[in-house]
Amino acid sequence: MEKSFFEKPRNIKCIRITLYSICFLLFLADGKIHHHADFPWENWFGFFSIFGFVGCVGLVLGAKYILRPLLKREENYYE
């Protein structure tokens, strides 16, 4: 099957590395900005980065290991 730009392993690796670099730079950018904070934790170094990452991992793990076993049924459950 013909592979598009987004399916070639080399390009996927490129995209991933770009993403990692952007994340790294954004993380460091915390030292440069001055934020008008409503809450004290907004000024902790890397708060938004870590909150976003941990929040999403927690979301996926919670959905996968807690919610899905509890809620998933066959497609014809209500038939």
Binding site: H36, F48, G55, L59
Partner: protein, 589 residues
């Protein structure tokens, strides 16, 4: 004033649609929202179109800055969905869409609770027809459940309105506030349409069952109309902040494990309405502005996302994540439009979601609502995770499903293109949207693009993307699985089945047992009684009558033997004696 009620234009127009030939119909339908838009734009603020009805004054034009925001966006989205739907030949879907949109406009501009309630119910009728238009068995069942839930909600609203009128004699629709039974019932009635937790299950149940275009129309009106009525009648109600925070958080968990991509979007719709609920609940000028702006932006990007998934469904006939993948090769433009919608809902800088959601989160911070603020930040990251990444990734990238199809039809591409343009336009020129918000001074003072704000949002989003990537690469991310996830609708779906089970297993056997007993005991007794009565009739009553007849006859015979001997003197003697006795008795007495 040369303007006219917006609802009248759409609902009146809806009834002309089936009468027109196809070409003329398309032009007519495109013209209606354009005319309506300029109508709303030129409407001066105030109260218009007061119609006395029975003892009420129905107000069809309560026009202020708040209602005009909804008026504008409802016309824009109607215009876009008409373009998106132009390939459809049958008039029924158009009719339902215009009745539904017209009724939503009726609610938005209603100045009294009676006309609001009437339009509220017309919305239910129009939207149910849109679900029925899919014309499948499961759509019919979903439409039935949808209608029942909304009729129940409508009855709560009606009960509240009747009680309010009984208590105060007023049907005015303005600020109500959450106190007393009447207002609580109205509050709950609005909440059903707003997809509050527990009530929400109708939304992911029904929307994914509607037709390709039907879902796009549905996503715009019902919940946003409910947000509007709450913003008008219950701003600053703390309960709404709590409800909104729950709504923003829990649907994203469902969205992660859901397979049907239009259902994923339905859950993220609830999540976005949660932000608006928090905005209404806070009730400051900034938060009400934020709610209006977010409703406006949300209608556009949510419709865009539903349009792109609708195009996929239209071309491939499939919508489950398990069946799709690799479509960016066949549908590159749809992919781009979908990604723009996904970026907007995630609140990327330079998109409409960024400039609207930020206001609500800032309003939350200004009130120092720490927990709610944290939930909203988490929900912002989560919505990027499932709507922003999952939707485009599983439909257009991921593993190649092998499906090769055509790009979406031209009309769909044009509609998606305009919606995508507007998402970016509002993100780049936020003042366009801010200038029409309910509190113009507060909106003008708000600056969305500060360096720190942009960086913090990017940090949040890029680290969510990082989490997604790492979970994908390590294989921890849950694979898409066939199946459904039970939600609160289990209460009424299983509840109905349980009810029928009880009827079948308990009530029906009792009923037939009673019939048995009746046959065995009752009928026997009845027959015995009947036999006794007939015996009694025969022997008792008939015997008595016959016996007395015999008796009279034999007495008469004896008497005639004595009296009628044939001698005239004797007969005269008896007669005279009889007359004399009568006369003496008459005189004496």
């Amino acid at each position: 004033m040369s303007n006219f009620p917006p609802a009248l234009l759409f609902i009146g127009g809806a009834f002309c649609i089936p009468l027109l030939p196809t070409r003329l119909r398309a032009a007519f339908m495109l013209l209606l929202p354009v005319v309506g838009f300029f109508n709303v734009m030129t409407m001066p603020e105030g109260t218009y179109w007061v119609v006395p009805f029975l003892q009420f004054d129905l107000i069809f034009g309560h026009i202020d800055r708040l209602s005009k925001v909804w008026g504008y966006i409802f016309h824009i989205i109607t215009f876009l969905t008409v373009i998106y739907a132009l390939h459809i030949k049958r008039a029924m879907e158009y009719w339902a869409a215009f009745v539904y949109a017209g009724a939503a406009l009726g609610v938005v501009f209603a100045g009294d609770l009676v006309s609001l309630f009437i339009f509220w119910e017309v919305m239910t009728i129009g939207s149910t027809c849109l679900i029925l238009a899919r014309n499948t068995d499961s759509a019919r069942k979903a439409a039935y459940r949808y209608a029942l839930v909304h009729i129940a909600g409508g009855l709560l609203l009606l009960a509240g309105i009747v009680l309010k009128y009984h208590n105060t004699g007023s049907i005015e629709f303005g600020f109500l506030g959450l106190h007393g039974l009447a207002h609580t019932l109205i509050f709950l009635g609005f909440g059903v349409n707003c997809a509050w937790p527990f009530f929400h299950a109708w939304l992911p149940d029904a929307y994914p069952e509607a037709s390709v275009t039907g879902t796009v129309v549905l996503s715009a009106f019902t919940t946003k109309t409910a947000v509007y009525v709450l913003a008008r009648s219950f701003p600053g109600t703390p309960e709404l902040v709590i409800l909104g925070a729950i709504m923003a958080a829990f649907p994203i968990f469902y969205a992660v494990i859901e397979n049907d991509l239009r259902k994923v979007l339905s859950y993220s719709l609830i999540n976005q309405v949660g932000f608006m609920m928090v905005g209404v609940g806070i009730g400051t000028e900034l938060s009400i502005n934020g709610t209006a702006a977010h409703a406006f932006a949300h209608i556009l990007y949510k419709a865009l996302l539903f349009m792109s998934m609708g195009a996929v469904l239209y071309r491939t006939g499939k919508i489950n994540g398990t069946d799709l993948g690799g479509l960016h090769k066949s549908m590159p433009l749809t992919t781009i439009f979908c990604i723009i919608g996904a970026a907007s809902i995630s609140g990327f800088p330079l998109t409409s979601g960024f400039i609207s959601k930020a206001m609500i989160i800032s309003a939350c911070g200004a009130q120092h609502l720490a927990i709610v603020w944290l939930i909203l930040i988490f929900a912002s990251a989560g919505v990027f995770h499932h709507s922003g990444i999952k939707i485009p990734y599983f439909a257009f990238f991921a593993h190649d499903s092998g499906i090769r199809t055509k790009e979406a039809p031209l009309n769909m591409l044009i509609a998606m293109g305009i919606a995508a343009f507007l998402c970016i336009f509002l993100g780049v020129f936020p003042q366009t949207l801010y200038s029409i918000l309910p509190y113009p001074e507060a909106a003008a003072a708000y600056v969305p693009y500060t360096a720190s704000h942009v960086v913090l949002m990017l940090q949040l989003l890029f680290f969510s993307a990082l989490a997604f990537t790492i979970l994908m690469v390590t294989g921890i991310y849950p694979p898409e699985l066939r199946g459904i996830n039970v939600d609160c609708d289990i209460i009424w779906r299983r509840g109905a089945q349980f009810f029928f089970l009880i009827v079948k297993k308990i009530i029906a056997p009792i009923d037939s047992a009673i019939s048995h007993i009746y046959r065995a005991v009752g009928l026997v007794l009845l027959m015995a009684l009947a036999r006794f009565l007939s015996w009694f009739d025969w022997n008792g009553i008939d015997g008595l009558v016959d016996g007395s007849a015999h008796c009279v006859r034999s007495i008469g015979r004896r008497v005639s033997l004595v009296l009628q001997r044939g001698q005239i003197q004797q007969t005269i003697y008896y007669t005279v004696t009889f007359v004399a006795v009568i006369l003496v008795a008459f005189v004496w007495l």
